[in-house]
Amino acid sequence: MTEITKEIVSEHGLSESEYEEVLKILGRVPNINELGIFSVMWSEHCSYKSSKKWLKTLPTEAPWVICGPGENAGVVDIGDGQAAIFKMESHNHPSYIEPYQGAATGVGGIMRDVFTMGARPIANMNALRFGRPDHPKTRHLVSGVVSGVGGYGNCMGIPTVGGETNFHASYDGNILVNAMTVGLADTDNIFYSAAAGIGNPVVYVGSKTGRDGIHGATMASAEFDDDSEEKRPTVQVGDPFTEKLLLEACLELMATDAIVAIQDMGAAGLTSSSFEMADKGGVGIQLDLDNVPMREEAMTPYEIMLSESQERMLMILKPGREGEAKTIFEKWELDFAVIGKVTDTGRMVLTMGGEIVADLPVAPLADSAPEYDRPWVKTECPDPIKASDVSAPADLKKTLLKIMGSSDIASRKWIWEQYDHMVMGDTIQRPGGDAAVVRIHGTDKALAITTDCTPRYCYAHPETGGAQAVAETWRNLTATGALPLAITDCMNFGNPERPEIMGQFVGCIEGMRDACIALDYPVVSGNVSLYNETNGTGIFPTPAIGGIGLLKQSDHMATLAFKNSGEVILVVGEASGDMGQSIYLKEIEGREEGAPPSVDLAIERKNGDFVRDAIHAGELTACHDISDGGLLVAISEMALAGNCGADLDLVSDLPLHAACFSEDQARYIVTATSETAEKLLEKAKLANVPLQLIGTTGHNELNFGTELSISIEDIREVYSNWLPDLMTVPGN
């Protein structure tokens, strides 16, 4: 067998001190299989060794939380014996190397995390970050990622209902592909991963194991360099059809009481799934690798344990239930094999060809996974940029057109039209709104779902950016009338061994924590992706937040489109007029500078609660939060969605550009009939919520005194064409 040299240890990504620890745990030199197992179990991806210390500080509890972080996905109670199960996950590195398959298998992986807990997926989301639009690779990556996300989700028949997309040079060499799935289960039929029952059979189901993706998990934990193209064969090919069968078969078996525990095989495949199940249950597992269904000839134990072949699950069944389970999986034409049993040894013992090929203690391996308190430095908040430090637009119309047709604001329709966002027949708010809304099939309830993060704010000041990301999801859910329940996160950062990057991570976590506490909005699941860095340049810190909220009555839902002419437009919330990090500053002045807009969580909550109450009371005809681009952008989006213009009469002490384009937080644009508006103004006064009348809806232009007169169609043209134009292959 292979001799374990220093080089081999270092190729496995284990540091010297980590290898010392391996020797201590085993009391001997590991064999190659064991070394491989240590290497994936202690990789950043599986062990969270750099992030654990900080993740623990996030609030994870609330009366409605059934299961927080630690399982395959988070679970929240949505009433009537039903639970929403959701999580977001990254597939960044594979998607950069092979955009279609990387994105597709990312979507497949996150769906398995959700249905492994007993939930039928009901919605997918995707949060994407690409390099600058004119980077030579961007078009190829956008096109591959989008068709990969669609290719998998469409085939599975789970609607992809929303997401977010940014373009920035910081992602030139490291794109981010974060996928989120929301599923629905009964609260009394949720499945966990802790193995139990000495002697119970360990069962493998799904696709056969091949040599794909070996070392994918370690790849996700290593920085890119220019020859990472060499690492190509680690990419896996997804098979959404098999996953659809796996979903149906698992749900069918879950309707019986045959399953003790179940865990999908994700990153680090059979290794991490079996160790996690054994560790959680405080038991041992014995596996006979000869029984693992294999796709290729002559696979070694090392390859079997480290393969990341997709569409596989590991289960512990109650004794004697194998036959029943087998019948179901065979009906769905999937592999089914008993590959081992639960033991009381506390050890993972692997045999193949009649020999023991690995024998490792479970708890020490899992518990002594390294945990680092990496040095970090705080990012100081830059000075704010006052409206008076920024020049006023020469021509408001041109300015608005430039912004509406810019990479951050322009329509993402080109993307979501490639996603089946209606299948399952419950999408009542399609992509393009503040949050997607899907009905809970057969009930009056609905879930609102959104993902948000403004990486440029996080880069300027991580704490503010982290808080803002959480607050924006909360606001987007609120804008549909939903009550925000909980979040999942996907923490995408550069190399944590650099103190300034680690500082970004810590700062974002602190901001997120403050926001979660202030908004009663815990974190129930998440994922960390570090080392998103090429040749020493990290991405913008990107803590993508996925939030879900509940609408008890789906017909209370609000949308952003202007509905009728002659309605009153109001703005909720106040503006300071600061311009730091705004789209205006970036697009018009070419400056990416200053402090991000400040986040006042108490005001956020007060304004949001006011808006939600008004939606439930049926007082609003449209509602949209103000985010990227500011007030005039929000109004333009409402006009475009409703195909209805407006006459604006915005009285403000701020300079025009600040009034129109500042990105002050905790604000919404709402519309109401003029009678209701009177009532609302009074209510707002009592509630101490700033509410100001700023115009009337009507005709097909946006007019603003002598400053602006522009047709909706002119705005639509720049807004709609930017992305299709970018994606048009020259010569076509």
Binding site: E98, Y100, S207, R232, P233, V235, V237, R295, E333
Partner: protein, 80 residues
């Protein structure tokens, strides 16, 4: 000058299409079939390029666009 590029999945790469076809053939009673792999064929009319220049040109097309060398192999045949 014409060229035919044949593209197949690398060994070991999962071939869901091939697998499904194999399954369907078994379902239709062709039980002897052991393994099915699916590939692509791309036929190019290269216009009036010289026989000397053609191979390099098609090679470039393959690496840049036609084949996904992360998971696929290709072979080139020049015709006429």
């Amino acid at each position: 000058m014409k060229a035919r590029v044949t593209i197949s999945l690398k060994n070991g790469v999962l071939d869901p299409q091939g697998k499904a076809i194999e399954h369907a053939l078994h379902g239709l009673g062709f039980e002897g079939v052991n393994e099915v792999r699916q590939g692509k064929i791309i036929e190019l009319d290269l216009g009036d390029i010289s026989t000397d220049a053609a191979p390099a040109e098609v090679e470039k097309m393959c690496t840049q666009l036609l084949a996904n060398t992360v998971i696929e192999n290709y072979t080139v045949e020049l015709l006429d």
